[in-house]
């Protein structure tokens, strides 16, 4: 049985400024497992994609009002597994299968390229996406660090 060695929960307002805040906090939190530079880059990049999606897609037309939150929970296990769950209570995704396809985007063409889920999947060991239209989206990322 794997054992939790540390756990953290964060709630942040869904605004662009918090993208770098999340990365900084998570980097500091996983530091005790001594990830390699590459592993840390992978985690920061994958987390940034999920957080950016909450900022960009979850709460349209509301422009980062006070109730628009991103919920993050991070766990470190004694098996050197890092798990990061990023959720929002926004609009949700109608068709997750489709949304996960590379190049699929509902964002502004000049600004987005539909690579977020591909990056999250490629830079971690497992990604699960759960979403309900009108209720929100949860992305679970798992990264197993080298011994």
């Amino acid at each position: 049985m794997k054992r939790i060695i540390n756990e953290m929960k964060l709630r942040l307002i869904a605004r662009g400024e918090n993208e770098s805040v999340c990365r900084a906090i998570i980097s500091a939190f996983v530091a005790e497992l001594n990830p390699t530079v590459e592993e840390l880059c992978d985690i920061r990049c994958a987390v940034s994609e999920a957080v950016t999606n909450c900022v960009v897609h979850a709460y349209p037309d509301r422009g980062g009002e006070r109730r628009d939150y991103i919920y993050i929970s991070v766990r470190l296990y004694d098996t050197r597994e890092v798990s990061v769950e990023i959720s929002d209570r926004g609009v949700g995704i109608e068709n997750v299968e489709l949304a996960r396809q590379p190049s699929y985007t509902t964002g502004e063409a000049s600004e987005r390229c539909g690579m977020g889920f591909l990056v999250m999947e490629s830079f971690t060991d497992a990604m699960t996406v759960k979403s309900k239209p009108g209720r929100g989206t949860t992305v679970l990322l798992k990264k197993i660090l080298k011994p």
Partner: protein
């Protein structure tokens, strides 16, 4: 370390030194400034210099692909330089190099 965008024009080349953090939040103003300079100066080469970039995600990919299509309409090439190994991994993964006028150099 560069925290803001710096653009240097040299003959028909435009070189953009990209800032330390290149996420969604940072990319938006950069895109606007770059596009304005591209259409004002119509260079033949746009060099995107990543040597000062400590963090980037897919927002940087959209920035590259978007500028590549702007450059294509001007007949200009896009050269990516100063990418770390991890950043190269991201660029390759995204397929940005499949865009005709985009290439990577080490210098």
């Amino acid at each position: 370390m560069q925290t803001t965008l710096k653009i240097v024009a040299n003959e028909d080349k435009l070189r953009a030194y990209l800032p330390r953090e290149l996420d969604h939040h940072a990319a938006r103003p950069i895109r606007e400034v770059l596009d304005r300079r591209l259409f004002e100066e119509k260079p033949t080469v746009l060099i995107l210099d990543f040597s000062g970039v400590e963090f980037m995600d897919s927002s940087a990919i959209a920035l590259i692909i978007g500028r590549a299509s702007a450059c294509e309409s001007l007949g200009a090439a896009v050269i990516l330089t100063g990418l770390s190994e991890h950043q190269k991994k991201l660029v390759r993964l995204s397929g940005a190099l499949r865009t005709k006028n985009v290439s990577i150099t080490e210098v």
